[in-house]
Amino acid sequence: MTVTALLFASYADALGREQLSLDLPAGATVRDALERLRELPGGTSLPPAPLVAINLAYARPDAMLSPGDELAVIPPVAGG
């Protein structure tokens, strides 16, 4: 299946991109997707357990992904 990964702020700087497609086996979790991102150039600078969101809502690392999901990897937030 294919999911869209989004990167922001310092994470986007580290990996040099803001968006990419990931091909993952059926049943893959957030954790699996993060492992794949860590293999990319600059990917080792992602922390062990970053905040993530699936389809605009925060999700846990063991959440299962579905085809077409939007998975966002979220640096420490600093709004306000």
Partner: protein, 145 residues
């Protein structure tokens, strides 16, 4: 109630008007502005960036939770993104409540949730020309002279 991520200056007067009702005795407007110093470094401006769609969604969830928790829908919140100069408003929260205690608690609750939950990042720009993403979870560096 209403919340939005905006790219234009926040109209404080308009936010206040949105929460005005004759049943309310207390209105509170919180405005967060860009400071000229942070952790001892002279700041010249801040670039706010957001995961726009989720920031809108999460802000909407915060406001809905606040409405239920404090028993009023008189809540209007805007968070601005883009490059902001010193003194410009990055966030404004207008709330109104029959009683002042409720207004203060509600306003404070919304800003704390917003700071911890909405996917917004800021890159500070310093007088020496450098700029840096802020990480509120990072250990503070030792104070500079």
């Amino acid at each position: 109630m209403r919340s939005a991520i905006v790219t234009r200056p926040i109209d404080l007067q308009a936010l206040l008007a949105e929460v005005a009702r004759h049943a309310n005795g207390a209105t509170l407007l919180f405005v967060g502005t860009v400071r000229d110093v942070n952790d001892g470094r002279a700041v010249t401006g801040i670039e706010y960036s957001a995961y726009g769609a989720m920031a809108e969604a999460e802000l909407g969830r915060i406001v809905a939770e606040a409405a239920e928790r404090f028993g009023t829908t008189d809540i209007a919140v805007e968070h601005r993104v883009g490059r902001l100069a010193l003194g410009e408003a990055s966030v404004a929260i207008a709330v109104a409540h029959p009683r002042r205690a409720g207004a203060y608690e509600l306003s404070r609750w919304v800003i704390e949730e917003l700071k911890h939950r909405i996917p917004v990042w800021k890159r500070e720009e310093y007088v020496d020309g450098t700029r840096e993403w802020l990480d509120p979870t990072a250990a503070k560096e030792p104070a500079r002279p």
